[in-house]
């Protein structure tokens, strides 16, 4: 089927750096003020107070984190706020050496999905691990949230600095 492949013209980075092709540059900066909505508004407020909050659906009896005002499985409003614990376990983790633009990090970071105690099984959030050597991390490891001092908390997911191993 070679005859069905068009000989598209590939360029190299040198074609750009040596100005062999014409280019236009455009920088889009789109600024937003997003309404958090009721569920996330409550979640962020809870974080400021040093709490992890979830929403409970009476019909399917799930306790949902991140919280949401409607249950996507039952397709009806959720019923109650539930305060969860500060502890959980590592569902999965990684050790990242690069930034979003592929520039190498000086200090690697450890993103993880952490299941939170008190939520329905497997319900987790994205966060970072800290105070632990990468080699010591294992799926299933029990962890607890390390919070910023109250005065520094802003109502953001980063009000939790990271999760560290318990014991």
């Amino acid at each position: 089927m070679d005859q069905h492949v068009f000989p598209t013209r590939g360029l190299s980075e040198k074609d750009f750096s040596e100005h062999r092709v014409l280019v236009e540059h455009w920088a889009l900066k789109a600024d937003y003020a997003w309404d958090t909505g009721v569920a996330i508004g409550g979640y962020l407020q809870g974080l400021k107070q040093g709490k992890l909050l979830a929403r409970h659906c009476n019909r399917c009896r799930r306790t949902l984190i991140p919280p949401r005002m409607f249950c996507e499985e039952c397709f009806c409003p959720t019923d109650d706020w539930v305060e969860l614990q500060n502890t959980g376990w590592v569902k999965t983790f990684s050790l990242s050496n690069v930034r979003w633009d592929m520039v190498r990090l000086e200090q690697p970071e450890m993103p993880a999905v952490v299941a939170i105690d008190g939520a329905s099984p497997g319900m987790g959030i994205l966060h970072l691990l800290g105070e632990v050597e990468p080699k010591a991390v294992a799926i299933g490891m029990r962890v607890q949230a390390v919070w910023k001092p109250a005065a520094e908390r802003e109502g953001s997911i980063t009000d939790i600095r990271y999760f560290k191993p318990i014991g």
Binding site: M1, D2, Q3, H4, V5, F6, P7, T8, R9, G10, L11, S12, E13, V21, H25, W26, L28, Y32, W34, T36, I40, Y43, L44, L64, I65, P66, R68, E72, K91, T92, F93, S94, L95, S96, N97, V98, R99, W100, D101, M102, E109, P111, A112, V113, G122, M123, G124, I125, L126, H127, L128, P134, I139, S156, I157, T158
Partner: protein
């Protein structure tokens, strides 16, 4: 179910390159014109056009679907653009299928295009919005995290080593050496090359990942009566399926793609497939990362959970094996222009089932194949079953 039979009667594509001189529209034109040429049709015979193309943010243009429409041959025609991230390449032919199966149109052109290279400094930047603006972006994440976290969960669930997974990258990059449009085909690549490559976000290493790519692919779909006039070798779309899991990705079981299984069941039911492993001769699952081929093979119900790696090690998925997987070379070898990659797989099945895949031809007169793609917020499964 009262739907007409639909066949693929022609296919064309661009070379897959790291950065094309061509604009996105020109890429769409190149693929669309090659597809029409391949079955000797002219544009005025095309009744409708379906376009698949992923984030507008890549090209940095407004209403990218509309912007690409003229290159896709849609001027003055009914036109529809679908977008489910990486799943688009197999979603678009499903949309094309119902345009024709419904009786609305006899000939539909399906075009998938992606030009990722304009985003500076790196196309990953266009993906940052994949993370929740309230609960995730403040952590400074990057796209690789999601794959690394999923890959680790899969490895841990089944006690897999990097070697068990990296063998997929070796197979596909070698297969791609026989694909005339490929970007990263390499006949001599070894397991050691993969395992020695730079660790990006453990367990993901550089050669576990498909490249940023520009490219386009197009197919011509026709109703049965028309298809038989156009070609003596129509390839039927026997089943289509698509399914979406929750966008709350951290709530999901990351070791198993339920959304792929659901989409596969929908497509298999339509195609009358009850034993996929026996009734399908070729599989083209989506392989943007090597572990995803394994993940998806299990979601496609072609291997039991956790068993795809050992089947790969045993050679089952080589071109000469019992169930060839990604004979094209996949995304790992041919390239990954996000929306176009999945359609490259469907085109591969088209060529394979007609015996026109040249050096990539799977032996033994294959009669049925399945193509699958994935993407969106990592939660869409799209599946197409093709047969002769």
């Amino acid at each position: 179910m009262g739907m007409r039979r639909v066949a693929v009667v022609g296919a064309g594509m661009t070379k897959f390159v790291r950065r094309a001189l061509e604009t996105g529209r020109e890429l769409a034109f190149e693929a669309a014109s090659k597809a029409l040429e391949s079955c000797e049709l002219t544009l005025d015979q095309v009744e409708a056009v379906v376009m698949g193309t992923a984030p507008d943010a890549f090209d940095g243009v407004h209403m990218k679907g509309e912007w690409l429409s003229d290159g896709a041959g849609a001027w003055g025609k009914p036109y529809m653009r679908g977008y489910v991230g990486g799943g688009t390449g197999v979603f678009a032919p499903a949309q094309g299928w119902y345009h024709v199966a419904s009786g609305l149109f006899d000939i539909c052109l399906v075009v998938c295009e992606e030009k990722m290279s304009p985003v500076q400094p790196h196309p990953q930047g266009a993906f940052l919005t994949i993370f929740d603006n309230f609960t995730e972006r403040a952590l400074g994440p990057n796209l690789l995290w999601i794959f690394a976290l999923e890959m680790n969960a899969y490895m841990q669930r089944y006690g897999l080593r990097k070697e068990d997974i990296a063998q997929v990258a070796v197979k596909n990059k070698r297969n791609a050496a026989d694909h005339p449009a490929s970007l990263l085909g390499d006949r001599t690549i070894t397991l050691k090359d993969i395992l020695d490559s730079e660790v990006l976000a453990w367990p993901v290493q550089r050669l576990d990942v498909s490249p940023v790519t520009d490219g386009a692919v197009a197919l011509v779909l026709a109703s049965e009566a028309v298809a038989r006039r156009i070609t003596s070798k129509p390839v039927w779309i026997e089943g289509v399926g698509w399914n979406l899991d929750t966008a709350y990705w951290t709530d999901r079981d990351l070791a198993y793609p339920t959304y792929v299984e659901e989409a596969a069941r929908m497509a298999y039911r339509m195609a009358g497939i009850t034993e996929p492993h026996k009734q399908i001769q070729i599989a083209e699952p989506y392989d943007p990362f090597d572990y995803k081929e394994l993940h998806h093979l299990e979601g496609l119900l072609l291997f039991p959970k956790g068993k795809a790696p050992e089947a790969t090690a045993a050679g089952v998925t080589q071109r000469t094996g019992n169930l060839p997987v990604c004979p094209s070379g996949g995304l790992l070898g041919v390239g990954n222009p996000i929306a176009a990659a999945g359609l490259m797989k469907v085109a591969e099945l088209f060529w394979q089932l007609r015996g026109e895949a040249g050096a990539r031809q799977v032996p033994g007169d294959p009669r049925r194949g399945v193509a699958q793609a994935w993407g969106d917020l990592m939660q869409v499964g799209t599946v197409v079953v093709m047969g002769r």
